[in-house]
Every structure is written in structure tokens, then in C-alpha cells.
Assembly symmetry: C2
């Protein structure tokens, strides 16, 4: 079975797409062909979106499903004329919340991923610059770090720091455990003052060897026994030092970031 | 008026939080105190979440709202005993989709941001490494780039490339337009072969001067007249060369990324 799925939004459509993806994967065996129609924030653009949907339906002969995260009721009304099964991400929440709060909502467009103020944007950009300048032990002044990730080389520290910066505006540094640290079974002294901000990352050694082999083929660095030794020594060190740590092997970047925030008890709104 | 809001999820809770944030901002004047309870993926953990919610309600005296993106019906049943107004992100979609598709869903946990396979994770990590090594004209071999951002220094190229990499697994490079490029009003020759992948970024010159001043106080680089000249010359060049371009001044990173994908007609699933 095949179906056409349109993600229509007055903003980027990321929210509609994320929810739609989760729901649709629960219908196994159905092949969904998806089309993204973002930034539909006027009635005029809604009419154009409907025309686009109708054209797709004509040329494919498939029945359409429309997943909408449009907030403006006038635009939603136009979209409902498309003939698609319309699933509205926000609508089911409105009535129960209006009841609970005893007031009417005032629709405002694209709050999820848009129209952010300068401060938010700047916090994210500054945090990204911080992550880049405090990556891989480049700048080892950690006074301003909110999170310092430690782990062996290629355990996933850099992408995680960048994710924390881009999404939460968190200043995240990372320090790669050296062979010397691992042999001495000691954290470097400069990290000790920031113990409450330290979080470990580890990775399956077989996986690590694959990643390193792609990076530096044939090197000692990528050898399975070297990776096994480094990972075992790093995990032992993190246990002894009682650092919270998480394995990146079977996790998405979102999950890793979320676990770090929980472990360090950082409550931060996601941008 | 104040209310307690709990975001409960079997995964990271990002989806629940994004939707909740959009809805709640439509109720002006209400102060929402939010608590994130992620990774609730067993009945046991659901009972602990309920206990946590009850404790918060007791100590604050506030009425609770629970926004849930839990997929497993057994866990949802436990959460509904919390006494909170439960708003389920996915539930309203299930019945209409089961009707439309004539089949039952098979609930699978945490698909939105979790349990991803190695290939997806690797695509994102590789794209991030690509963005880092092709940032700011470091590596100017663009043969493998899917997107090449051009713009003046500090127009927002680096965060946008990293966002495209982390979220879509897209290999995005960036090239900072030099004074020489701007004076000659020509794109560098090495970019011309990849014209279809070029996308411009621009920024309000007043804003640019602020950003640069923070970076290099008192420099010629940060002077308002220098910024005005660079931005005007860059925008002229992009118009002449017919590059699609977008201003980063009043946009979120999500919006910028989404517009670039639309302009270059890249249909890519977000991880």
C-alpha cells in the first residue's frame, strides 16, 4: 500500500515532520511518499499549497494525508479543502487547555522554530563558537564551561558538544583522554576543579576500531587491541572517579544530549 | 496564574517539549513551570514518574498538566493515574490513521529520536566532520559538498553548516567572501563548477558590526562602514550571480536551514 504524505507548516515544518515520522513508522508495510511544504503563513500560500497537493494527487493517483502544524485557523480552513485526511498537530490540545485554564488561546505563528529574538540566536551562536574553540583540548580553560565531556578519541564528543550548543545554547567543552591519563588512571589536574560539570562518553571498542580505521587506515590508533585497551581503561577511570557516563554506540545524538542534561541536572529549554 | 507542566516521554522528550512550548505560548499571562521526565520506557519508570509528579504537586500546590509522547499504551495508562490533565501528542492521530489505512498500528518505542541505526548515526557524524574540515575555506575541495554557503565573515555560515550536518546528514561546506572577491565582484573560480549547490547568506550590517565588535573589539573589521560596504557588495554579487540567498538577521537556525533546503530543492529526512 502506498500513500502520499504532506507536511504543511507556517514555519519550518520540523515539528509536523517529527511527529508524523513517529506515527507513520507504526504502520508497517505502508510506503509513505512524503512532501514538505514549509512557511505557509498566509491564506494565499495556503491556496498554493492546496494546488500543489492536488497536482501530486492527480499525477500519482495516491490518496493524500496532510499533517499540519499551522496555527492560524484561517489557513487551516483553506488546507481542509485539499481533500486530504488532515491531521492537525496542535488542534487536539486547544480545547482541553482552554477548559483547564479558563481562557482562550491567542494564536501566534511559528513560535516553535521561528521569530526567535536576538538573545536566543546569539546564545546559540556563542555556544557553538565556544564548542569549536574548546574542542579536543584546543583551549583548556574550562572556567566558563557548563559541561565538559571526557572520553577516548572518536567516542562522539565533538558532535555531542555541537548539538548541546546549537540546541540548548550550552557551553560544552571536551577533553580527549590521552594514553598518559589512561595509564596513570588519573584525570588531568586542570579538570578536577570542574568535577561537577564532567560527563563521560564511551563506545563499543569494535565500533571504535571501525570509526578510527576509516579515519586513519592501518594505524596503531585504529587497531582492535588498542581500542579495546583504551575503552577498558577509560571506563575503569570513569567508574573510579564516579563520573556519570553514557555509551554512544546505540544512541542517537538527541538521546546522548538528553541523558547528559539529566545526569548533570541541567534544566534548559530547547530552542 | 501558574501551572506545573511535565513533559514525559519514552525517549528524549524533545517532541513533547517542542509541541508543548508552541501551544503554551498561546496562553498569555499564564506562568508555566516545566519539568522534563525523559526515557520513561517501562511501567516501573512510569510509576516513578507519577510519584515525582505527585511530589511536585504537593510541594507547589499547583495543578499539573502532563504532555506525553509515550507510545506504549501500558505506560500511558499508568501516567493517567497521576491526576494531571494528560495531553497525548500521538493519540489523536492513531484512530483516523487506522481508519484511513484499514489496519492497526504496531507501537514501537522512541522512533522519533532514538534507536537509530548505525548508518544514520554515521551519516550525521561524517557530515559533521565534513562541515568542520570544510569550514571557512579550510579545505576548498568542494567535490563532495551537497551545499556550499557563501557570505561575508560572521554572517552565520558555520552554525548553519553544522546544523545541516547534525540534523540532515548533509555535507555542507562554506566559503567566506574575501575583500578581493567583493572588489572584483566575482565568485572564486573554484566555486563555479558547483554553482547549483551554492547558497548565499547575508545579515543586517548593523547587526554584523555588533557581532564582529564582540569578536575583535576596535578592529577595522568591526567598523560600521566596513560592514555596510561588505554586506552591500556581497548582496550585489549574489544578485548578479543569481544565487539564492537568505538573511540570517531575523531567522532561527531551523528556518535558515529549511529555506536553504527548499531553495536547492533538497528533500531530505530529518534525523
Amino acid at each position: 500500500m502506498r500513500r502520499l504524505v504532506f507536511y504543511v507548516s507556517d514555519g519550518t515544518g520540523i515539528t509536523a515532520e517529527t511527529i508524523g515520522h513517529t506515527i507513520l513508522t507504526q504502520f508497517e508495510g505502508v510506503e509513505f511518499q512524503t512532501v514538505r511544504i514549509p512557511f505557509v503563513d498566509t491564506v494565499e500560500l495556503a491556496r498554493m499549497a492546496v494546488a500543489k497537493i492536488e497536482a501530486h494527487v492527480r499525477s500519482s493517483g495516491l490518496r493524500p494525508i496532510l499533517i499540519s502544524s499551522v496555527i492560524n485557523p484561517d489557513i487551516t480552513a483553506v488546507l481542509s479543502e485539499s481533500g486530504a485526511l488532515v491531521l492537525d498537530v496542535f488542534a487536539p490540545f486547544i480545547a482541553p487547555l482552554e477548559d483547564e485554564l479558563g481562557m482562550q488561546r491567542s494564536p501566534r505563528v511559528g513560535k516553535a522554530h521561528g521569530l526567535v529574538n536576538f538573545d536566543e540566536y546569539e546564545a546559540r551562536i556563542n555556544a557553538t563558537n565556544y564548542a569549536l574553540s574548546h574542542d579536543d583540548g584546543i583551549d583548556v580553560n574550562y572556567a566558563e564551561a557548563e559541561v565538559i565531556l571526557v572520553g577516548v578519541s572518536r567516542s562522539g564528543k565533538t558532535p555531542t558538544c555541537l548539538y548541546l550548543a546549537l540546541h540548548y545554547g550550552i557551553r560544552a567543552a571536551n577533553y580527549p583522554l590521552t594514553e598518559e591519563d589512561l595509564e596513570k588512571q588519573e584525570l588531568p589536574h586542570r579538570l578536577l576543579a570542574y568535577r561537577a560539570r564532567l560527563h563521560g562518553l564511551t563506545i563499543d571498542p569494535v565500533r571504535l576500531a571501525q570509526v578510527r580505521e576509516t579515519r586513519r587506515p592501518g594505524s596503531r590508533y585504529a587497531k582492535p587491541e588498542q581500542c579495546r585497551w583504551e575503552v577498558a581503561a577509560a571506563e575503569k577511570l570513569m567508574r573510579v572517579e564516579r563520573l556519570p557516563w553514557v555509551s554512544t554506540t546505540n544512541s542517537s545524538i538527541e538521546e546522548i544530549a538528553s541523558k547528559i542534561l539529566s545526569a548533570l541536572d541541567i534544566q534548559r529549554h530547547m530552542y
